[in-house]
C-alpha cells in the first residue's frame, strides 16, 4: 500500500475519496453532470459498503471522504451512515439544500457534533439566474435552508457552479453568502464541466485525465478517476474515466488510480479550478 500513500504524499492523487451515494435527485439542473432527476436510475451505493470503504480509506492513508450524488439526502438513512463514516475521517457531503425543513432537519441530528460538513449548491445572488439552471424556487429554498442548518449546529459550505461571474455578480454572491453566515473560506466557485448535461454548454471546461486531478471516486458502477468522471450521457454512465469495476478492497482501485496517474504533471488541473 506504500505506493498509494506515496502518491498522496507527493501530490499525484488526492487524499480524498469520493462516493456517489445515488444518482437520482429532486432537481433537474441544466448543467448536471449525471443527468440526475426524479426519474433517473438510482444507482445507489450500499451504505455498508460506504462504511467499510471509508474505514479502508483511512487505513490506506486517505484523510477525507466526500459523498455526492444525485441528491444525497433523498436517502433518509444517510445521516446515520455519514455519522459512522466520520468516525474514521472527516466527511463532506454535497446536497442541493432543498430538503431540510421540519422532520427532514431533525433527521440530520446524528450528524451533529461530528466531523461532517455540508456543501450546498447556490449559483447566483440573482434568484432568476440561479433558478434558471437549478429549477423554480431553488434560490428561496436554499437561502432559507442555510441559516436553519447553521442554527441547528451544522457546518455548511456553499459551492457555486457556472461560468466565471463578472466582478459585480461575484461580489453580490459573496455578500449573500456572508449574510447567510458562510465565510469566504467556505465558498467555492467552480466551472461547468463539459460532461453530462454540461457537455453542450458554451464556456464549459473540458474534463479529461489531463484536466482532472485524480481523486478516487466510488460508484455503484465501479471506481473512477475523479468525482467529475462517472457522468451520465444519454442514460449511460460514461466509462472513459473508469478506473476499475472492482471497488473492494479499496486498495485495488487505489493502486490502479496511482498507476494511471503517475507521470501526470502535478497540479495541471489548477487552471480550471475543477478540483
Amino acid at each position: 500500500m506504500n505506493a498509494v500513500l506515496d502518491a498522496m504524499e507527493n501530490g499525484t492523487i488526492s487524499r480524498r475519496v469520493w462516493f456517489y451515494a445515488n444518482y437520482h435527485c429532486n432537481l433537474e439542473c441544466s448543467y448536471c453532470l449525471t443527468e440526475s432527476s426524479p426519474r433517473a436510475p438510482r444507482r445507489q451505493l450500499d451504505h455498508s459498503l460506504m462504511k467499510s470503504l471509508t474505514r479502508q480509506a483511512a487505513d490506506l492513508g486517505f484523510t477525507e471522504v466526500g459523498v455526492t450524488g444525485g441528491e444525497t439526502f433523498l436517502d433518509l438513512a444517510l445521516p446515520a451512515t455519514l455519522a459512522e463514516m466520520s468516525e474514521s475521517v472527516p466527511v463532506i457531503v454535497l446536497t442541493n439544500g432543498t430538503l431540510f425543513a421540519g422532520d427532514r432537519l431533525e433527521r440530520l441530528a446524528p450528524m451533529l457534533g461530528r466531523q461532517i460538513s455540508m456543501q450546498i449548491s447556490l449559483d447566483s445572488a440573482n434568484p432568476d439566474l440561479n433558478d434558471m439552471a437549478r429549477g423554480p424556487e431553488n434560490f428561496a429554498k436554499v437561502v432559507e435552508s442555510i441559516p436553519r442548518l447553521i442554527n441547528a449546529g451544522h457546518r455548511v459550505r456553499i459551492a457555486s457552479t457556472g461560468q466565471a461571474p463578472d466582478e459585480e455578480s461575484q461580489e453580490a454572491l459573496c455578500t449573500l453568502h456572508r449574510s447567510l453566515g458562510i465565510s469566504d473560506d467556505d465558498h467555492v466557485v467552480r466551472p461547468i464541466v463539459r460532461r453530462g448535461r454540461g457537455a453542450t454548454f458554451d464556456g464549459s471546461v473540458p474534463a479529461g485525465p489531463d484536466e482532472l486531478f485524480p481523486e478516487l471516486t466510488i460508484t455503484a458502477d465501479g471506481a473512477f478517476w475523479s468525482p467529475f468522471a462517472p457522468t451520465v450521457s444519454n442514460d449511460h454512465v460514461d466509462t472513459d474515466l473508469l478506473v476499475s469495476r472492482t471497488v473492494e478492497p479499496l486498495s485495488v482501485p487505489a493502486q490502479r488510480l496511482v498507476a494511471l496517474a503517475q507521470g501526470r504533471p502535478v497540479g495541471s488541473d489548477v487552471a480550471n479550478n475543477i478540483r
Binding site: 466509462t239 472513459d240 473508469l242 478506473v243 476499475s244 469495476r245 494511471l260
Partner: protein, 195 residues
C-alpha cells in the same frame, strides 16, 4: 444475430485501454473486455502470449484453435481462425477438415499432427483424464514444454469459444465477406464427428 453485450467505443474507452482503440476498432473481444478495464489489463496479455508466437509453431497453434473452436461450434472463432489459418498457410482441405467439413484422418497424414489432433479432441471434448494411448502418442511427438503450451492453448480457446458464443460476438463484415468469397460457410454452428 445481435450481440448480448454492449461494446465500448473509442470515445468511451477507459484511460487504461485507450491505446487499444487508437488504431481503430479493436474488435469485439477487446471492446467487450474494456467494460472491465482491470480484467482487460491481464486478459489481453495472457491471450496474446498463449495465441502468439512461442515455441509451438504457428501451424500447430492454428490446428489447436480452429479444431477446438469447431468442436465447440463457436461461429465467431471458427470464422476468425479460418482467416488466420489461410494467412499462415494451411491449405483448404486442412482448413475444411479442421472445421469439421471433412474427416481429419483423410487429410492429415503426419503422425505428429494426428497425435496432436487426437489430443485436442480428447482435451476439448472429454471429461476427466485423457486416455493413456492418446496421451502416450502425443507425448511421443512433443516435449513437455510443448505439451504444456498446447494444453493451455486448448483451454484458453475453450474459454474464448464459450465467451464468444454465449455473448454472440459478431465477426466483422470484411471478414465475413472475405470468407464467403473464398467459399467458406460463415453461419455454421454444427461440426462433424471427430475423425
Amino acid at each position: 444475430m445481435t450481440a448480448r453485450v454492449s461494446f465500448i467505443t473509442a470515445n468511451q474507452a477507459p484511460v487504461s485501454a485507450r491505446h487499444l482503440f487508437a488504431g481503430g476498432d479493436p474488435g469485439p473481444l477487446v471492446s467487450s473486455w474494456a467494460q472491465v478495464p482491470e480484467m482487460l489489463d491481464v486478459t489481453l496479455p495472457f491471450v496474446g502470449m498463449i495465441m502468439g508466437a512461442s515455441s509451438v509453431s504457428v501451424r500447430h497453434k492454428e490446428l489447436v484453435i480452429l479444431r477446438t473452436s469447431a468442436l465447440m461450434q463457436c461461429r465467431f472463432c471458427i470464422n476468425a481462425h479460418t482467416e488466420v489459418a489461410v494467412d499462415v498457410g494451411l491449405n483448404e482441405l486442412e482448413i475444411r477438415a479442421l472445421r469439421g467439413e471433412l474427416a481429419v484422418g483423410d487429410v492429415f497424414a503426419m503422425p505428429s499432427e494426428i497425435a496432436l489432433l487426437r489430443w485436442i479432441d480428447a482435451v476439448a471434448t472429454g471429461r476427466g483424464a485423457v486416455a493413456d494411448d492418446i496421451a502416450t502418442a502425443f507425448a511421443g511427438h512433443f516435449q513437455d514444454h510443448e505439451v504444456v503450451e498446447v494444453t493451455m492453448l486448448i483451454g484458453a480457446t475453450l474459454m474464448l469459444n464459450r465467451y464468444a458464443s454465449a455473448l454472440q460476438l459478431p465477426n466483422s463484415a470484411e471478414s465475413i465477406d472475405r470468407l464467403q468469397q473464398a467459399g467458406y460457410e460463415t453461419a455454421l454452428t454444427n461440426q462433424g464427428a471427430i475423425a
